[in-house]
Amino acid sequence: MFVYIMRRVLWSVPFLFAASLLAFAIIQLPPGDYVESYAARLEADGQQVDEVRIIALRDRFGLDRPFIVQYWKWISGIFQGDFGLSFQWQQPVSELIGDRMFLSVILATSTLLFTWAIALPIGVYSAVKQYSVGDYVFSIIGFIGLATPNFLVALILMYVGVVVFGTNVTGLFSPEYANASWSWGKFIDLLKHLIIPVAIIGTSATASLIRIMRANLLDELFKPYVTTARAKGLSEFKAIIKYPVRIALNPFASTIAWVFPQIISGSTIVAVVLSLPTVDPLMLDALLSQDMYLAGAFILLLSVMSIVGMIVSDIVLALIDPRIRYR
């Protein structure tokens, strides 16, 4: 087991390096740089742009140096916890992201728990009672959930919230708590505000998870070991939960891998619509304005999250499925 984990971790090192290089290359890809788009924005606002000032800015940010030098400066800073300075916000990138990261993690975890809590039991029900009325009803609801874009649901809920209930459903905090320090009151306020984004972001994931669970379980339900369990005298419920459901859950460990990057980019549009203070809108903004270090930090973070997610899901899978552990 230890060897297995060590092997996974060691293998991730070259991947992380390649990902960082790629991240930096990607943010360098679009024509022009931050200074250029800054100048363009100034011009659009009707201001005069001073050529000398632009060159000074370039020089200050090191934008005229060769790619590899810029990359080295960037990556060595990251090792010391310095992700560079956001051009737009004139703040360290690490501070900008750090503030919002916590809320993103909370949102992503609650969405995941919500999804699993709803989808797994329904998936089991749909498989055990295949082709029953309930199975059809859940399938129809599930497909509707899959087919409806999240932001549309968000807009509808906002409308309903404002027009019918007269409350503002956007954001994650009520105005009085937004800048307050943490307290029970703020925490409960957060939970109240979480319900709607979690429900919105979770719907499509729930729908697909129901289908996956149903299909996985249908593969297992008629295996001989289920008959063995029944022949031992187990009740139908216990026989199904302990054996086929347990085995049908294994593939879910693999899905942890894609939960991690979703912390950052899973709900961008919904977050913009609902003006959630998570990292998603910040990332969108950074990409639009070519805020190089901020965008680079995001892309790097996404890659790291994907790789870490992969390691975690491999380890979890090995923990719950002995057949993988011993290979």
């Binding site: 070991y225 085995i247 294994n250």
Partner: protein
Amino acid sequence: MTTNQPILEVKDLVTAFQTRHGDFNAVDNVSLSLTPGKLMCLVGESGSGKSVLSRSILQLVDKPGKIVSGEILLHDAHPAASSDKVETLDLAALNPRGSVMRNIRGRDIAMIFQEPMSSLSPVHKIGNQIAESAMLHEGISKSQAMERAVDMLRQVEISNPEKAVNQYPFEFSGGMRQRAMIAMALVCSPKILIADEPTTALDVTIQAEILDLLQNLKQTHNMAIMFITHDMGVVAEIADDVAVMKNGKIVEVGGVRDIFSNPNHGYTKSLLRAAQDTQKPSDRRIEIRRARPLGDPILSAKSIGKEFLSSHGFLGLKKETFVAVDDASFELREGESLGVVGESGSGKTTLARCIQRIHGIDRGELHYRNRAGVETELSRLRDKELQPTWREIRTVFQDPFASLNPRMTVSQIISEPLLLNGMTSKRQRRDRVEELLDLVGLPVESMERFPHAFSGGQRQRISIARAIAPEPRVLIADEATSALDVSIRVQIMDLLLELQHKLNISYIFISHDVGLVRFFCDRVMVMYKGKIVEAGDTESVCTDPEHPYTKALLSAVPITDPSERGTKVRHRYVADLSDVSANGSV
């Protein structure tokens, strides 16, 4: 309790499957009874309703199957888990999911199945799966139940049971898994054990051990056992009573000696004849050899070796290999049938694939003399250079269901190799397919039908027609008759003999069944762990084996004659013990 009082009586049981064309009675008006301390063998061919009958007793028939009428009387049953009240219960009248039925399953009547691997959960420890019934039915604590599990594993002769309870099924060998399965069934000391083909998936040597084990347990626990099998040899070896089943009905019941010495029903007679036929050399083969003696060697292998990569090691640094075929040398003569016997994993199939050069050969030489008399060394040739040889060396595979493309018609399947051979005229191909179908004994009308319309035996005939289409000189039959019922098996082997006579084909006949090899082959090679441990004339190897492994293998083969039961001394090959201490490294 008097011993001759039946514990379970099945009366006029009908179990039906609802289909679109009305009900199909898989079990049709069956009556039988089980007695403590007696083993009843239920024999019949596939589809005869044996399994459905056994599952009906525990009400475990999968939908859309359903018990329609009849009684299943269990005497001396405790309907409630708590009270000691004893009464006779009609299991057929119980709710399949009700608590009374569930209390009987595993406690009064336990069951073991054919595939020990898929019948055990792959992700739960053996100990957990065994202890579960005890905790459920006797309400004992987990630690007590685990102690019981260790004890049960010891009873089924698993070495180091304390370690085994914490292992997973995939760390066990096939024989150990079946032992664990038996331990699981016996943990609550049931009065009745139903065993559904428990040794069919196992090697003969392991089958012999499991049969011994069941015999012992029957006596020590005074259990009634219902043993389902299609193998008359096994019946002769262990049965006290025999019930013969055909098309859902029991056609004959009786004591084992009566049935074997004086069968009444024609079906029983034909089953027995088919089983006994395959224990001696085929008369037809001897006749054919007299008409045409064997020719010169056409294929000769010199020290062939084949290895597989079994592990890359840490970061691909330490490569480990598994030697599948080790230093194999042999000759195949024109018109000869050469048998290859051995247990699963002994390298028989790998050897066949090396001969056909589907696998590369790592060491040694393989010489083939083609129809024109030109000799080629095959071991180093590339795929393109092998094309002409592939036409002359062909294979018939084991599984007649998986080896035919379900979306091609019989005529397409058989004519495919002809097309590859350059027979472009549609007319010519059609004529040839007709001729081939006639050769393998199928009607010409089969041409336009799809494989699913045929039974296992007929499909195997189609496979054979496909294999002989390009007029091969060597045919490798890789367990080609193993998936078939006994009576069909003999027919297919007779067909192969006739084809050999007509077309002068040499066979390499791979089988785990020594009886079949004795029936079919002139010479035999015995393989064990990748090595050919003994080779020679089939009769002399079978009657006077030299290598200890061959002795062990032969002594494990059941004799189809109950009167000879116990007369044979069983040899155990010492290297076999690796099975008992097997670990999960494979």
